[in-house]
């Protein structure tokens, strides 16, 4: 496959996943803000979201204080924020258009329809009462796109590169989200506020039900961390994401007659660490340090994919 095509497909996967993740984060923050004042006592649910999305510094270049409306605008629409929902869709649509031929008609239609809707959207369509409906729509559009890929794409390199982008972005997002809440997860405080926050963490990765299915127990910080980091059966856990990344990289190597390099070695290393770790050890040596390490690894792996396949 053309290197440029692989590049566009990889980023197409990343941008669509990122848009959905920002929408997930916003939905949870909005829900928290809508609960009691006590639950939202710190008022920093919105700020955490900026941190998780990796765009806190950019936000403060523009705004002095964190207000709900400003954060929503920044994360949904602001053209200066490349990680915002609409800019992500714009970038995904652009990538899709440059590799039009590598996509199926169903994927293209899903992307095109989303974009045609989004490019006409105004703040009144996603602020205030409209926010939850809008975010739900965004998540549905990404689910539709992913479903179209799942159901219609030839299982060749094009598919593999989209999956690589999606899985790596998802891994990165889960690590960032947990890291924002690491203090909360490391404290032993068990009160209404903490419980609500724990729920929020799980909800943002659609894993609240999954928690109950896996543990059949009350929420506890260590178990939340275990579910989101080490449990391969949760599709958004770090373990599941890196299993997928390795599987996809193996697939690409197979397409190329067994050609392997840095990305394979690095992804295999991360996968092994996730497989062999115990949550007790991770918590004991510091959740924040562990997650920071994971975020750095994801970035390095992204670089390695770039220099091995795309710009050698």
């Amino acid at each position: 496959m053309l290197s440029r095509t692989a590049d566009s497909l990889f980023w197409l996967g990343r941008y669509t996943e990122r848009a959905a993740n920002v929408a997930r984060g916003l939905a949870v923050a909005s829900r928290m803000a809508g609960l009691t004042a006590e639950l939202n006592a710190e008022g920093d649910e919105w700020r955490s979201l900026l941190v998780a999305a990796g765009c806190e510094p950019a936000f403060f270049e523009k705004y002095d204080v964190v207000t709900q409306e400003a954060v929503i605008d920044f994360l949904v629409r602001d053209p200066d924020n490349p990680s915002g929902i609409i800019p992500c869709f714009a970038a995904a649509r652009h990538n899709a258009r440059t590799v039009r031929t590598a996509l199926t008609v169903d994927m293209w239609s899903a992307m095109s329809d989303s974009w045609n809707h989004l490019r006409q959207i105004e703040p009144g369509d996603f602020q205030g009462e409209k926010l939850p409906g809008f975010l739900e729509w965004v998540r549905e559009r990404v689910l539709l796109f992913n479903g179209a890929a799942m159901d219609t794409m030839l299982r060749g390199e094009a598919w593999l590169f989209v999956q690589l982008g999606t899985s790596l972005e998802r891994a990165d997002n889960t690590a960032r989200l947990l890291d924002v809440k690491h203090e909360l997860l490391e404290s032993e405080a068990d009160n209404t506020v903490a419980h609500g926050q724990w729920q929020a963490v799980l909800q943002s990765v659609s894993a609240l039900r999954a928690y109950h299915w896996v543990f059949r127990d009350r929420l506890s910080p260590a178990r939340i961390a275990e579910l989101l980091i080490l449990r391969p059966e949760l599709p958004r856990s770090l373990a599941a994401c890196y299993n997928r990344v390795c599987e996809v990289l193996d697939g690409i190597a197979m397409e190329q007659g067994g050609r392997r390099g840095d990305p394979h070695r690095m992804a295999g290393d991360i996968q092994a660490r996730l497989k062999l770790s115990r949550i007790e050890d991770i918590m004991a040596s510091g959740l924040h340090e562990y997650l920071t390490g994971m975020i750095v690894s994801a970035a390095e792996l992204g670089q390695a994919v770039e220099s091995f396949y795309i710009r050698p």
Binding site: L2, T98, T101, S109, S112
Partner: protein, 495 residues
């Protein structure tokens, strides 16, 4: 203007047989339904992304070309005649290209003035003494036809370089099949959808012999900002080949490679949708970022095929156009089947006098213009505009040609006010290999949507229609005859 033009559908007594079912349909369908279908078509085209990128002109950068839901129909016999004429014409154009870049017999035989070739911007000295595989230069040609009477078609223009629009031909049919399945089922329409397969066959046949039976074919596009980018991707998709931009390719030891995730891969045939000037900064324009350095040296070494060959512009130049009938006689020893529009060359003194005296009746065009820019339509121009063009012609007569304004035929078209006649032209696509000429039955019908306008270019507000070639012509009156038989045998009531 529209009033005197030949109406391809006709009406009343003169309703033409090929259109009988369409006329019925139009009579029976309320206008609101037609309008609703038109809106549905727009949503469809927008969703598929069949757009025409127009950057730098303001407005929507991804513009839809308006699609008209009323088809244009050609009877079988009409098509047979056109098809034979197109085949003949393109064979002659290819023979001409081989000759001007070879021995130049046609010049020595005094059939074409030498200065029209030697002094022409479209003539590529780089191509002299080189023969592409199979001797084919213009593998894909688009020939623009207009019609003025039931039996009178004219070739308005040959497009021998990188003709576009074939994706609209195919997508228009898809849209019709989706919007009006029952209407199509009432006709037997020759399918057009084998075009991509024919195109791939044509491109593969152009490959250097070395490439073997399964050459690597790619499409080279200027990129997503090009107006025909959709088409480039569409064709790549339909053929299952890669669509590339210049930087995806590189040349090493006169061999062309593409950059892939698995390293470099050799390329054998390039269907290039980039103009000659931008193909290779080493051979042509040094400032171009679109092409591939060294491509022409690889081409001349016989290591890669370019479709169409560089230098094809000399065959579709408007100054050469008047000589195409002569080419047909000279190379094929046949009489031309398709007529040329009578053309005056302003560089000839007698022609120039005639043009200047009758400028208000003529269409004046730049010999090397395209896209409907830089032309004067005398009958529609003001006195000042005519005078301005006359001055230009006096200053640089060799740049201009003139033709009579033809009363282009009309086809009923759905406009905001209802159904009205609008002028059309037709661009069939002609594929050539050394052994065969292939034309799918049909082509792109372009329609001038503004009342009275003769300009069908998409860049000038034109739209498109689906073009139907009937598999078999309806026997005239056959339906009413069979009805009367039923009645005379007394069984009508049983139906």
């Amino acid at each position: 203007m529209t009033g005197q033009a030949f109406d391809e559908m006709g009406s009343g007594e003169s309703l033409r047989a090929a259109y009988a079912a369409i006329a019925d349909w139009l009579r029976q369908t309320p206008q609101a339904d037609l309008m609703a279908k038109r809106a549905e078509a727009e949503v469809l085209f927008r969703r598929v992304g069949i757009t025409f990128a127009v950057y730098g002109e303001g407005g929507d950068p991804e513009r839809l070309i308006p699609f008209d839901i009323i088809p244009r129909i050609l009877a079988r016999a009409e098509w047979e005649g056109l098809s034979a004429g197109l085949t003949q014409r393109v064979r002659a154009l290819n023979a001409f290209l081989g000759d001007v870049y070879g021995k130049q017999d046609i010049i020595r035989a005094d059939k074409i003035p030498a200065h029209l070739i030697q002094g022409n911007d479209q003539f590529r000295p780089e191509m002299q003494g080189f023969s592409p595989p199979g001797g084919i230069y213009t593998h894909i040609a688009g020939i623009d036809l207009v019609r003025t009477a039931p039996d009178q078609f004219y070739v308005l223009e040959d497009n021998a370089r990188t003709p576009s629009g074939v994706s609209y031909m195919l997508e228009n049919r898809e849209a019709m099949l989706r919007l009006f399945p029952r209407l199509l089922a009432r006709h037997r329409i020759a399918p057009v959808n084998r075009y991509p397969e024919d195109l791939l066959t044509t491109l593969m046949a152009a490959a250097p012999e070395r490439a073997g039976p399964n050459p690597t074919v790619v499409i080279l596009t200027p990129g997503a900002f090009n107006s025909a980018y959709y088409e480039h991707c569409f064709l790549a998709d339909e053929m299952g080949v890669e669509v590339l931009e210049g930087p995806d390719l590189f040349v090493e030891d006169k061999i062309v490679y593409m950059r892939t995730t698995a390293g470099k891969k050799r390329v054998d045939v390039i269907y290039r949708r980039i103009d000659d000037d931008y193909l290779d900064p080493e051979a042509f324009r040094a400032d171009s970022m679109l092409g591939v350095p060294g491509l022409i040296s690889a081409y001349r070494a016989g290591n890669v095929a370019l479709c169409n060959a560089p230098g094809c512009g000399i065959a579709d130049d408007k100054a050469i156009y008047p000589y195409v009938p002569e080419m047909i006689r000279f190379y094929l020893g046949e009489e031309p089947i398709l007529a040329n529009v009578p053309t005056l060359l302003c560089e000839r003194e007698a022609d120039r006098k005639e043009v200047l005296a009758n400028i208000h009746k003529l269409v004046v065009k730049l010999a090397q213009g395209s896209g409907g820019y830089g032309m004067l339509i005398g009958p529609h121009a003001t006195k000042a505009e005519c005078e301005e063009f006359a001055a230009r012609i006096r200053a640089r007569p060799q740049d201009y040609i003139a033709q009579p304004t033809l009363a282009l035929s009309t086809v009923p078209t759905l406009v905001d006010q209802g159904i009205a006649p609008r002028h059309v032209d037709l661009r069939p696509f002609v594929l050539s290999t050394k052994d065969a000429v292939r034309i799918v039955p049909g082509g792109l019908t372009r329609v001038a949507l503004r009342e009275g306008s003769l300009v069908v270019n998409s860049s000038q507000g034109g739209g498109t229609k689906d073009t139907w070639v009937l598999e078999a012509d309806p026997a005239p009156q056959s339906q009413s005859q069979s009805q009367s038989q039923w009645q005379s045998s007394g069984s009508a009531g049983a139906c």
